[in-house]
């Protein structure tokens, strides 16, 4: 076999390998009802999340994100894999809204909280009243501060 054929076949095998490996290694983003970020699990059904928040009497944390947002990856790597943050997040009902979701409900939510750029977080009461807004990326310390602030605000109400 000529060297060129060997090269060609090798590259073909590499391509198939990349294809197969990457498809299996790609992190699951969402299944029927959840989306995953770092070590967190977020609801994607807006109605369900709101209802659950009302039932459990917990504030709702809405996360506006997209797949291509580099700051969202930073959140995954820094905040959403930090045990302290995870503990704080337990106090909330988590709802993630993909900004590319073009459903009417998601659109309404985006408009209601003027979420235009990923990432943005809004902590709200089950009635939809804003507790804290976090626009853009916040370092983990600051992020935790915001979450605390939201919880304090929630306690006060």
């Amino acid at each position: 076999m000529s060297p060129r054929k060997v090269f060609t076949i090798t590259i073909f095998i590499a391509a198939i390998g990349i294809g197969y490996y990457s498809m299996n290694a790609a992190p699951v983003l969402s299944d029927d009802s959840h989306t995953y970020h770092g070590d967190t699990e977020w609801r994607t059904d807006i109605d369900d999340a709101q209802q659950l928040a009302a039932e459990q009497e917990k504030p709702l944390l809405i996360y506006f994100w997209t797949t291509w947002c580099t700051y969202c990856e930073d959140y995954n790597a820094n905040a959403y894999s930090d045990p302290a943050v995870l503990e704080q997040l337990d106090e909330f009902v988590l709802l993630a809204v993909n900004l590319e979701d073009n459903s009417q409900q998601a659109g309404a939510l985006q408009q209601q909280y003027s979420a235009n750029y990923p990432p943005q977080h809004v902590a709200v009461t089950p009635d939809g009243e804003v507790l804290v807004e976090i626009n853009g990326y916040a370092e983990t310390d600051a992020f935790q501060g915001y979450l605390d602030e939201a919880l304090e605000e929630w306690e006060r109400q």
Binding site: G19, Y21, A26, L29, T66, T67, W68, T70, A77, E100
Partner: protein, 810 residues
Amino acid sequence: MMGGTLLIGAAVLSGLAATVLLFANYLRREERYLDAVTPLIGTTAGLLSLALAYLTYQFVTTDYANAYVWNNTANYISLFYRITGVYAGNQGSILLWAALTAVVAFWAVAVRGLERRETRLVQGITMGVVTYFAAMLVLDSPFKPISSEFPEMDPGFVPIDGTGLNPLLIDPYMAIHPPIMFIAYALLTMPFAIAVTHFISTVRGEDGLFEEWIGSVTRWLRIAWLFLTAAITLGSLWSYRVLGWGGIWAWDPVEVAVLIPWLFLTATLHAVMNYRSRSTYATLAPAMTGATLALIVYATAIVRSGVFRSVHSFADGGIGAALLVLLAITSILGIGLPLGYWLLREPETASETAADTSQSQQWVSRVNLKHLAVLSIGLLGFVSVWGLTFPVLNASVTGVEVEVGGQYYNLWSYPIVLGVLLVLGFYMDYDVEGRRRALISLGIFSLLTVLAALIAPSETWTLSNVDGSDALLYRLVGNASALSILPPAAYVCLTVIKRTLEFVPGNPNRNFQLKQVGITMIHVAFALLVVTVTFSYLFTAQSSLVVADADREATIEGSAVHEVPDSNYAVQVSDYRSYQRPEEPNVENMALSSEQIVSRGQEIHETRQPVYGTATQINTGPNATVIQLDNSGIWIGAMNASQTELGISEGDQVVGVGTVMWDFLPNMPQSDGVVVTEAANVGPVSNPPTALDQTRVEGTAVGLTVYQNGEQIARGNAGQEQYRQQGGMEVRDVLVDRGLTHDTYVIAAVDDGTVSLTVKQIPLMTVMRLSVGALLLGMLLVIVFDPAHGLARLWPQVTRQQTTAETTSD
């Protein structure tokens, strides 16, 4: 309004006639009506250009009788961005693409003529593409009347103002990016047609035309590469300036989509350089040339069809299906045909010359190295194609969405890029030093690369934030140090420059020298680009600051200078302002005059309209006050309002918004129509009622002075603008200071007197900009001065150089 669609319809007819004549003349080997073909192609190009010019004219004059114009511009938008509105949507950009392709076809036929039989097929295919685009535009025309948007209105109804232009597109880079991109796409239609013709004629047992036309193919491909590179650069600069978040490159689906043809075109150029009719790349080079257009249509379908939604998808729906059909056609012709030929018809063993055979049997030879380069660049392209494709496949088969973000592209592309750089360095070295020494230096630099990958002074140096749950290979590459890019890049720079110094100075052929300089510039620039892109992303430092009383501070002379924590920056707020656009709303742009109301007549009966004029008579009755405008038959009727309440006297300029009613007051002979409304909706022009408020953009901005290490480095504005009539869409206005070693990039969120600032320091941007410049300039040198296929050869009166048989092309 029908005029535009008629122009396109006529273009379809002339394009179709040209295509049919060309195909018939090719198939029947005759020359019937062949003289008519060139004028027909010219007519098609002329008609499509005219349609484009007409559409542009409608945009400039804001002719909202056209629904497409109404959808993509508005009165407050400046003339320049009215023009860019032409290609803001699907139909307009397809028209631009079609017109440019037709012009390219006309240029080709004018230069080349139609004497050769194969030329007719090449032109036939090109004109087929043009005709297809034009037919798409007849079905979904950019000249649809506004009544298609407002079927409930009377046929003559024309809105006063448009809905606006996507605010993200209001940017100088974005204004020139699409035309340049479409020029590249249009140019690539020619090599596609040549490649397809080559295979058709080979399959038919005739000589293919690649051998003879190699110069032409090379020129088309190189010029297209130049434009495509420029287009991607402009797009990146736009994303850097406008989006504020993504930086120059964020692996957004649309960015990946445009990278695919670029990578593939780069690989194709290398394959075509290597084309020999009887042996090397006899099939692959023309096959790759043919496939490029299919990939472009694939990329466009992705952007336009709405399969992938992203910040970039400015227009979706509608034209997607037609593009998918085009994708099928171009794929069959550009990919299926060569593949079929390769599998079924290609001669078993190509009769290689003795020299070629002995060369290609050696593992390390120029031919084989180039082959490896072509394959590796192809593999890089595959990573991008697959990244776009498999999430869709996966979601449609299993219903599970998987994440394909920057990490996937970065981690797979990085080792391949390292490999490409090492192969490139080795090739250049081998050319000068011979095999033994080159192999030794390759060994040294490969070892250095591996060692450098292990040295990470801090976490910032590692390529990605991977953790234990990630796949093994991702962890391996992700934990490698970015230092590993330096040895291969240095290797390339050293060997490329060394080779140039070896070959160029002594060569008598000036064109050869200039071409080699071009080749050197391209390859060095590529190596630098890879380094700078990697480093600028990894070493971007950012810190934030909140200035609570920015509005108050702005009024103080010499206000406080705020240190930005964790950085050597400090900022001072010198201005705080809210503004809106249009700044000084002109009533004439927003309301109809009494004359206009009269001339529109019945068509606006019972519609809500704003109207203005001079109050020439005011009658107050028990139930209403009526105001006559300009001594005309048009009156404003304010129900349940007295004159004092309205605050208007005769002679005042008055404006009101209400429902136009014809023959509303039959017993008042001097009245033709009344604009019926309430007191709140009527007022003097100097203080128009809120119903007339036509604010389109609300902006808040702060003036900032930025200091670094105590020295002032930049002054400017940052803030955001909200587009009220576009769903409250918000666009950031960033302050960028371009520095020699790094850019300072300030994003501000301004709200209620508080300013949240993010200051980013992005290193090496200037090197990156220079590299792109060198890339483009280098390619320009190659295009013009290549002794074999350069443009300079075609202008013998300018430079008469003998064509040296090249032993060392790239």
